[in-house]
């Protein structure tokens, strides 16, 4: 044995108090900008909104003479005869637009455009983006031109009259049809883009395997493509539910709530910011908006739990391997 002094055990690394503090603080510092933005633009508005919803703040009280009224606005909502109608209109609007366009049409367009030549598919999808790119006022004007009352209107003048069919004031006659068409043609492009990229990233071997295994085109979509798109499907369902719940500008421009199309978000807007009697009921409108926030939170939680959204987000987007 040599006599060289070797320590029997390694000396534990000393971590100074300063180091420990730095390790604790520096991640916080990195998170600060995002944290500030989140708090300033997501949490604070909700808290302010909730605060306003507990007052009778309106243009007749002004910013000085308002009173705290507790949950009176919420009680009013429950008692209001319009509540049920507008809630049904909202559910109708969200679910029909979602099913037929934001998911249904988006899937159809994505599937069609990935089964034709690449260039044609690209052009086809680009066309579907036009409604989203067009300023909404112009876009709705065009729809109004299509449905305008006779002797005007593209439908009346150029389709129905030449065929000798009876004309109508179409937007007023079929308000729901127009509400869902106008919103659907805008909304479909979002899902279309997500679904197209999902379909195109399915490895080619699966497509070959499906054909060799005996699938026709429909069976390949049904048994191979759709099951591999679970994540993008759920994502689009969730995201579009939430954005439809709060959207109202196209309905506002098209029918302004006439014909039973007063959805919840439009109702809140009308009461708070565009009141017929000129009294902007900010407190009541805030309470209406809070209900929407609550519905959104509940829907998100349900989607996340029920569809195991968290687990899906962590998995690869395409469950290839």
């Amino acid at each position: 044995m040599t006599t060289t002094a070797v320590p029997a055990e390694p000396v534990p690394m000393r971590v100074s108090y300063r180091d420990r503090l730095r390790r604790l603080v520096s991640p916080m510092l990195f998170m600060t900008p995002a944290g500030v933005l989140t708090v300033a633009f997501f949490f604070l508005p909700v808290i302010i909104l909730f605060g306003i919803s507990l007052t009778n703040l309106s243009s007749s009280t002004g910013f000085k003479n308002y009173e705290w009224v507790g949950f009176e606005n919420y009680v009013k909502i429950v008692q209001n005869p319009l509540t049920k109608l507008n809630l049904i209109a909202t559910i109708k609007y969200v679910s029909l637009t979602l099913v037929f366009f934001n998911i249904g049409m988006a899937l159809v367009v994505a599937l069609l455009s990935t089964h034709i030549s690449r260039r044609a598919g690209f052009v086809y999808r680009a066309l579907w983006l036009l409604p989203r790119l067009t300023p909404s006022v112009v876009y709705i004007m065009m729809w109004k031109f299509i449905g305008a009352d006779s002797p005007y209107g593209i439908m009346n003048q150029h389709v129905l009259e030449p065929l000798g069919l009876s004309t109508a004031n179409w937007v007023a006659a079929r308000p729901w049809l127009f509400v869902i068409l106008t919103n659907g043609f805008i909304g479909a492009s979002f899902g279309m883009i997500i679904f197209t990229s999902a379909i195109e990233s399915i490895p080619r071997d699966y497509m070959i395997a499906a054909q060799v295994d005996g699938c026709n085109a429909w069976q390949r979509i049904r048994h191979v493509i759709l099951p591999m798109m679970r994540w993008p499907l759920l994502f689009v369902v969730t995201y579009q539910t939430l954005s439809l719940l709060t959207s109202f500008e196209q309905i506002y421009l098209l029918t302004d709530g006439a014909g039973g199309t007063e959805v919840w978000a439009l109702w809140a807007y009308h009461r708070a910011l565009n009141n017929y009697w000129g009294n902007f009921q900010w407190g009541f409108g805030a309470a209406l908006a809070m209900v929407l926030v609550a519905i959104g939170i509940v829907a998100s939680v349900v989607y996340m739990r029920f569809f195991q959204f968290n687990a899906l987000v962590q998995e690869p987007k395409i469950e290839a391997m």
Binding site: P203, D205, Y206, I208, A209, Q211, V212, D213, G214, C215, N216, Q219, H223, V224, P227, M228, R230, E319, A320, M321
Partner: protein, 357 residues
């Protein structure tokens, strides 16, 4: 089932992926398509599968032209490098998916799935999903899916390339044994010449879309018809040395700077008088002795059973498989004996063999 490819070509725009391939596959035969990546072997396979339509030429199954038959009507089974097991189905559902599509009765479906699973030893995995299986197990399931549908033709697209070396070795033997027992005509695409040589009855060597040779592995190895085959088949690869073959009376000699080799008359006379030719000799046909070409050991690579030497003879480099017990070191002077009955000759311009034209 017999398969016949006749003058088969596939163009993608201006790119010619497959160029006039003609070959026949006998009933129950195991044929490998061998070539470097991008040579057109997979494109050829996909034309047989019906995924690609040939630009010209025909594909025949037995006596029937199948060019316009959809893949699902061809009675083929296919195994992929990526396994391509459907991730949302269990092993059982994967095995029976083709049968469900063709509406096989449930009892028969179960029996066939069980039979395939038993053959491949995956019976205990029926309820698992592909994500819960190892690579080797996934490949067995993929093979089972192809077998359970009882195809007339099995197509393999580099099925072992994603497996580790040990597993690849055992699966290689297993696939070969299965194919022989079941007698299903098979086409096996690979870039690995060892796989092709060990498994296939005949090997189609494909290069740049053209069929270079279609022969048994022994023939490819001992009688390479082109320079490409000589260099591609065999590991370590054949030595290729540019020489001039001269006739001196009855004897033939291959010469270059510092290199002078007495040849047999049978092989020598075919290469003589042509100016520069390429001499090929496999590393195992060169021996270290006390006679022959003088050279200097430049690199020693111990491979365990052999040492692979790079010996410089003049300005030529010759790879030699040598006995490790010789303990040769870099810089040692050695003498090389070449087995003149195994020497190959190629025309440097046409790259064709001068011996096996």
């Amino acid at each position: 089932m017999k398969v016949l490819l006749e003058n088969l070509s596939k163009h993608f725009g201006s790119v010619v992926a497959v160029d006039g391939v003609t070959l026949d596959i006998r009933d129950s035969e195991f044929v490998a398509f061998l070539g470097p990546s991008g040579c057109g072997k997979t494109t050829t396979l996909l034309m047989v599968a019906g995924i690609y339509k040939p630009t010209t030429g025909i594909v025949k199954f037995d006596e029937r032209v199948v060019n316009h038959l959809a893949p699902r009507d061809r009675k083929i089974g296919m195994v992929f490098q990526s396994y391509a097991l459907y991730p949302h189905m269990t092993v059982y559902q994967n095995l029976t998916f083709p049968m469900r599509l063709s509406k096989v009765p449930k009892s028969e479906m179960e029996a066939r799935a069980k039979e395939a699973a038993d053959i491949l030893g995956i019976g205990a995995l029926m309820d698992r999903r592909p994500g819960q299986l190892s690579g080797g197990q996934q490949q067995r399931v993929a093979l089972g899916r192809a077998l359970a549908k009882q195809p007339d033709l099995l197509l393999f697209d580099e099925p072992l390339s994603n497996l580790d070396a040990r597993l690849r070795l055992s699966m290689r033997g297993e696939i070969k044994r299965l194919q022989m027992e079941l007698g299903i005509t098979s086409i096996y695409v690979t870039h690995d010449q060892v796989e092709a040589m060990t498994m296939a009855d005949r090997i189609a060597v494909i290069r740049e879309g053209k069929l270079q040779a279609y022969a048994t592995s022994d023939e490819l190895y001992d009688q390479p018809r082109t320079l490409f085959i000589a260099g591609f088949v065999g590991n370590p690869p054949m030595n290729l040395i540019e020489v001039e073959v001269l006739q001196e009376g009855d004897s033939y000699r291959a010469r270059r700077n510092g290199f002078d080799l007495q040849l047999s008359e049978a092989r020598g006379h075919k290469a003589a008088g042509r100016g520069k030719v390429i001499l090929g000799i496999r590393p195992e046909d060169v021996s270290i002795g006390d006679r022959g070409l003088r050279g200097e050991v430049y690199v020693v690579e111990p491979l365990g059973r052999d040492d692979l030497l790079d010996v410089h003879v003049g300005d030529a480099s010759v790879h030699v498989l040598a006995d490790p017990s010789l303990h040769l070191k870099i810089g040692d002077q050695v003498q090389l004996g070449l087995n003149v009955d195994k020497v190959q000759f190629f025309d440097p311009e046409s790259e064709q063999s001068l011996l096996w034209a």
